[in-house]
Symmetry: D2
């Protein structure tokens, strides 16, 4: 089988490098181009910042380039994975889709656009709908803290009929990219503010989970506090849901355990980045923890894609738990890679196969 | 004026050392005895663990001793400040009070006992009531995370008529004492569980703020998630209150700014550990922070006693903010010292003055 | 081939768990017993502390037991890997060897004993000599900071004819085990003292590298400063050698690159824990780093066994470099596992095979 | 007494802010201008980054400005304290001195220039010589790691007749300024390289301590390894001196204890930033530590100016110890403030007084 030629945009940054790592030797996608404005001319290996992880063998000697949408099309690129900064992502991604190049983007620029799927395949696969006409698809994944939240909420929606969701986040340093947060800002300290993060969580969760507009019947209030803590990777979130009906902890657990919406695609080998157990419950009293649980997910290609939940407590209408998701994998590059696998499986990338 | 002879119980631990620091050269209390079972025979200076702070000059050469209630009474001790572990505090504090020694305790053993004030002078000074008969007073201060919460909630109670309080904590390492949390447990990590902490917050907040028992009219649900983060000192908490009536941010600010319930005692010089501004609002978008705000409070003796609040957001019935309190001062030794000053001012320590 | 039945002593501690991880599915050794006094009755999985690494599948459900040398012999154990505390290791290891059980120990108790090899196979394989008579072998590996030092010094001994070795260490937290260093001791801090460490480095290096006793011709002064820094794993050391003859940086590099003393055993598949490149030179100006280089070593079974060197500077008689070694692998459990493989290859474990 | 009007150049950076803090309410100098290119127009309070310390009351509302040497002279500025980046400091400081404004600089640009004193008053006060003619003085202080080293070496020079000095540094984050080191670079990590630092230590130490040029009789080899560790402030250094003559530990201690070269100026009240005890020996086995010792120095104005030494070991010709100095105070702004006080006392600033 021929792999689909693709490019990573913004490959020099933290998410760009996670894309490179996840797409290394990928069965369906073949990275042929890495772009990066500031780092053009340098190899991926020389730029490598994911200190705990080795640079991908297939790609480490590839040099970053500057490239327009036209140039990417001319080089035969059919799919791009975008880790561009928001302000560049806006016009560039539109241009690419119009040029016939499918875009799977981690940028926030188009997430809330009508007609642009904001996709988490386990949660709202149906949002993909039909392929667009006259242009290539543009598919986004949510913000890193939203991604971790919607996965364990999805299987509880019917059960709980939620009215409010209270979330406080303990977000890792890598969520701000590299160089990102200065060491002097978070040594013996934490930061109680991440610009725009709380607004994104509310808006994106509502779009993904299909919550009615605020004020309408069935709407859900999401009240978030988003904070940065001195941890390398892995966003932890405390969650309290005010349920519309009374449930037991056993029912919540059962919903999580039975949650496997991608079983068909996984068993066909079409979704190698989809974790076998998307919501992993840990019964120990002190889990999940960033260091121990950020790489949850099996098989190997899906490491970092499972969302770990724990500390489930049901108290009257309130269902409380703690979750942990790898911000740069499930909440970043891995989300977009899974979206691309899912779109391909659904036939969105067939046109010129 | 003669100072009241007093002792610090458990002076070798983290809170015990904060007691020593706060009582150094205190105008009303004179520390004459330091107790500590494991560290008996060593000087306070040799045990000193509060690395950022110098040991108190008046006390650094004093040696810790083992002492029974009887021995303390025989040595003329009239007040003890207790930083004992819970299991020791239970019987010892009862014995002391019966022996005629006033007890101001940071231990949790007697906090929820009927007839034992759980006191935060700015919040529930009236809880002190009348001095007990036939024994010396036993007065407790709340758990470190509760102490930070009730101070800014107190001036909002009437305004908001709260129905629910959602709290997530970002608790500092020193809350677990010394040696406490192993470095390998929290380097590049955080811990999502602190035993009994959530239960304490709910029960103690209700007692202090006078909330009716659950299920009764006017009761308030406090739903907490308590977590430990890699920060030396200063507990940060995110708070979302579901108000029973609609308010504006301006009204909330006004309530905080006008909050000065101890003005009389302070202006008489009777409460040197009471901060001039008990709830300090910071308007910067990224405050409070542990490193910057833990020592808030004036004058000098009240450093670490102010609770800093910030990030106020009002959204329908939900009032959100972030608070920071020094866990070992406002939430520990400082709380008990202020309680003792308050009790003295109210005449509870007069009997034999 | 039947694997040799073995036990891990002190399996509940940090090094004990690294032993369990390294011996999981080992081709020659089969762990059948885990001992641990404090943790007897609990499974390895329940005790698991190596947060970044999964517990070994083969062993995670095994329960720790208390066991005497006699009981181990009765259960058919033929080899033990010892991670006992020094004071327990002393008598127990002697007893085991007399009972006919081979001991590969990370404890310091017998390292300096005459007749007990202090072995690093790449450096002083010949120290193994002949198997002892009348008892099973007892073989030790050096202290964690010594292990990292002797590997890159070995190939330079002839070249440099060293007179002095100046070392300063930047030792990781896990070197003190678990719970080990309190988080309050090293958050925004480091500790300039590790008891007995400097003495061990001097004595053990001399024994391993065959340096004459001090004062004799050819003796080498090792002057160490041993410090603890807030890093999880991986000991870094700065090294300045005063050479007895003038050399160039190119000669030093060549000596390191050509260093492969175990090539025969490796190529025969007899030493699966021996790294293909024992001394790995990195030419980047800012390497080695603990986070990036602690897991150096190939193949998979030898991860953490390579010593990474960098920042080579030659200046008159002074040769300066920086090294990094995984303290718990090359400097701990991995060292002993390699020793056991090496002893087995050399026929020391044949007797009853 | 009228205070001398002065300016802080580069007041927005980490060292600039320490200057502002140290010069707040200074008895001899009055800060009238703060300069800063990037931050022009903002107040010092709004820029404040020294999180643990409050902004100086006298200066927090002052706005940073862009200013040429001419403009500074026109505003009556007679002394500048320079925290400029090296490349800007070079031409600007020359221009200022020619314009008649005395320059006390923490920048490295002119440190090694002939005729420019590289001054540490306790060590080489005589280096000040006579005031220059035809221009105002330009006086520099050494690099942060050099400053900590030369103070305790100075009183040992005669005693030890040193031949070599081996140093390894454990440098704090603030040495790189703000934003400086990214948190992802040093969380669970350290960095073994600081550009140009080792060269500066060797050259600057030789200039300050008057060591003959290399190869000449009496020259001293300084062999440094400079590394960055995850600590906020306070550079720790391990030192091994190869002495030219045999000494005892008692002699070393005596030299340190008797070291008080500025006693005259201090007792006259002319050197408020000079610490009463410039070299403070701690006998505890685990001191100095950054967290505990960085603020050593008395009186209040001299906090952070004492160099703490400990772990003294004498072994044949080798004298080993560990030192700690506040990099931004003794090794930065405080050094320059003391230089200015010293120059004023010596009459260098008299001209127009």
């Amino acid at each position: 089988m021929t792999r689909i030629p693709c490019a990573i945009l913004g490959a020099g940054g933290w998410i760009g490098q996670h894309f490179a790592r996840l797409l290394d030797s990928h069965p369906f996608f073949e990275v042929q181009v890495l772009t990066g404005d500031r780092n053009a001319g340098r190899t991926l290996g020389a730029l490598w910042q994911l200190a705990e992880l080795p640079p991908p063998r297939e790609l480490e000697d590839l040099r970053l380039v500057r490239a327009t949408a036209r140039e990417l099309a001319d080089r035969g690129v059919r799919v791009v994975f975008s880790a561009l900064p928001t302000e560049e992502a806006g016009p560039m991604e539109t241009l690419l889709a119009r040029s016939g190049i499918a875009v799977f983007s981690n940028a926030s620029a188009h997430r809330m656009d009508r007609g642009v799927p904001l996709l988490v395949p386990e949660v709202n696969g149906a949002a993909l709908g039909r392929p667009p006409r006259g242009r290539a698809p543009l598919v986004t994944n949510p913000n890193c803290s939203t991604a971790g939240l919607v996965v364990p909420l999805a299987p509880l929606q019917k059960l709980l009929a939620p009215r409010e969701v209270h979330v406080s986040t303990y977000q890792a340093l890598s969520g701000a990219g590299y160089p990102g947060v200065p060491s002097l800002a978070v040594t013996d300290n934490l930061l109680p503010f991440i610009p725009q993060e709380e607004e994104k969580m509310a808006a994106e969760s509502a779009k993904i989970l299909g919550w009615p507009a605020r004020g309408r019947r069935g709407s859900v209030d999401l009240l978030a506090h988003c904070l940065r803590v001195p941890v390398r990777e892995g966003h932890l979130e405390t969650v309290t849901v005010r349920a519309g009906r009374r449930v037991s902890a056993a029912e919540v657990l059962e919903s999580w355990k039975g949650f496997d919406p991608l079983t068909e695609g996984r068993s066909q080998g079409e979704l190698p980045t989809a974790p076998r157990v998307p919501v992993l419950f840990r019964s120990e009293p002190d889990r999940p923890q960033p260091l121990r649980d950020r790489w949850a997910g099996e098989p190997e290609r899906a490491r970092g894609m499972a969302v770990t939940v724990g500390r489930l407590r049901v108290d009257g209408p309130f269902v409380r738990f703690v979750l942990l998701a790898h911000n740069a994998v499930r909440g970043g590059a891995g989300g977009s890679v899974l979206n691309a696998e899912y779109a391909r499986w659904r036939g969105w990338l067939d046109a010129r196969d």
